[in-house]
Every structure is written in structure tokens, then in C-alpha cells.
Amino acid sequence: MDFSYKEKGLIVSLGVTLLIFGWYLYGAFSNLSLNPELPGFVEIIILIIWVAVLESIIQGFLALKNKSQLEDERDKLIEKISYRYGYWFLSACIWFLMVQILLDARFDHLPVLTTPYGMFHLLLLFFVLAEVTNFVVQLYYYRKGF
């Protein structure tokens, strides 16, 4: 299968995001029943820096192989569509949480919704999934066209 520079970049971003945040969130949700403290601010910053650095290194290697990497109207259109999907996904998740709060924690047996630790990581999961939606929709449109 022949992938363009843009598609390769997206696959790298998707992979790094899934790997690092997946690994972190898996650990976080595994500890949920222990009711741990909230993670430190520094810990989250380090995680985000890891994602950014890894992505930059791999994108840099890809850029070395590809000299013409300008972005054109098609790239911008695909990006716009994918952000719209990501936005709708994130909105749906936030609405779910808001309804949950309004219903006065109907699912209060779930530690993920009742502890600050669980809620924090649930929100982080929603942001990561919205970003993943963004990458997947972009890849889909680059492959399928429109």
C-alpha cells in the first residue's frame, strides 16, 4: 500500500498517541479501585512532552525523505472535516458527563465517575479519543477521497 507523506505522519501521530496515552491510561484505570491521589501536574506535563518529542523525532525522519511537504487546500479541507468530527465526539462525551452530574451520579457505583482521580482520567481519555477520532477521520478521507 502506497502512503503519502501526510498519511505516514498521521499514522505516526496516531501510533504515538495510542501508545503513550494508552499505556498511561491503562495504568491509571487499573489503579482505580485503589482510589489513589490525583497525578501531579509535572507528571502530566512530562507525558505530553514525551508525546510531542517522539512525534517530532519521527516526523523529522519522515520529512528528510520528503522534500515537497507543503500543505494545500485539500489538506486544509480534510483537517477541517476531521476537527469537526473530533469536536462532535468530544462534545458528546462532555454532555454525557454533564448529564451524569445533573442526574446526581446515577452510576455512583462506578469509581471512575465518583472520585476526582477517576473523573480526571475519564476527561483525559475523552480528549485523547477526540484526538484519535481526528487522526482516523483524516486517514479515512486521505484514502477514500470525497
Binding site: S68, E73, F146
Partner: protein
């Protein structure tokens, strides 16, 4: 049946001395992937890009693009 925009850029490139997709992309100011997508009818370019392609080949817009 829905109408679709098709084009004959591939034929025009051939007639222009087998101009490469990369060359056309550089002249028009888009990526090679966009030219590939246009040729495969997977993407309809903006009016600006369509005019640039038309100017590049020196033919009228409707000679390149068809809507049926």
C-alpha cells in the same frame, strides 16, 4: 443518478510531453497527492486551482472538467 465532476488531466499531461504529476503540482501550487486525487476523481479542486490547471495547459476550463 447523482452528477459527478470528471476531468481529463491525465490526457492533457500526456499531450504536454508526458508532464509529471509533480511538475504540474509545483506549477499549480498543490501537492502531488492532490493531483493524484483530482485525476482519480476523488477530489474536486477549488475554482482557483481549476483555473490554474486550465492556464497551465492553455485550454478552457470546460475542456478539462466535465460535470455529468
Amino acid at each position: 443518478m447523482s452528477k459527478k465532476i470528471s476531468n481529463n488531466i491525465r490526457k492533457l499531461r500526456f499531450e504536454a510531453g508526458e508532464m509529471s504529476q509533480q511538475t504540474l503540482a509545483e506549477k499549480v501550487g498543490v501537492t502531488r497527492q492532490t493531483i493524484i486525487a483530482i485525476e482519480k476523481d476523488k477530489y474536486s479542486p477549488s475554482l482557483e486551482v481549476a483555473f490554474k490547471i486550465s492556464n497551465e495547459f492553455g485550454v478552457a476550463l470546460e475542456t478539462i472538467f466535465n460535470y455529468k
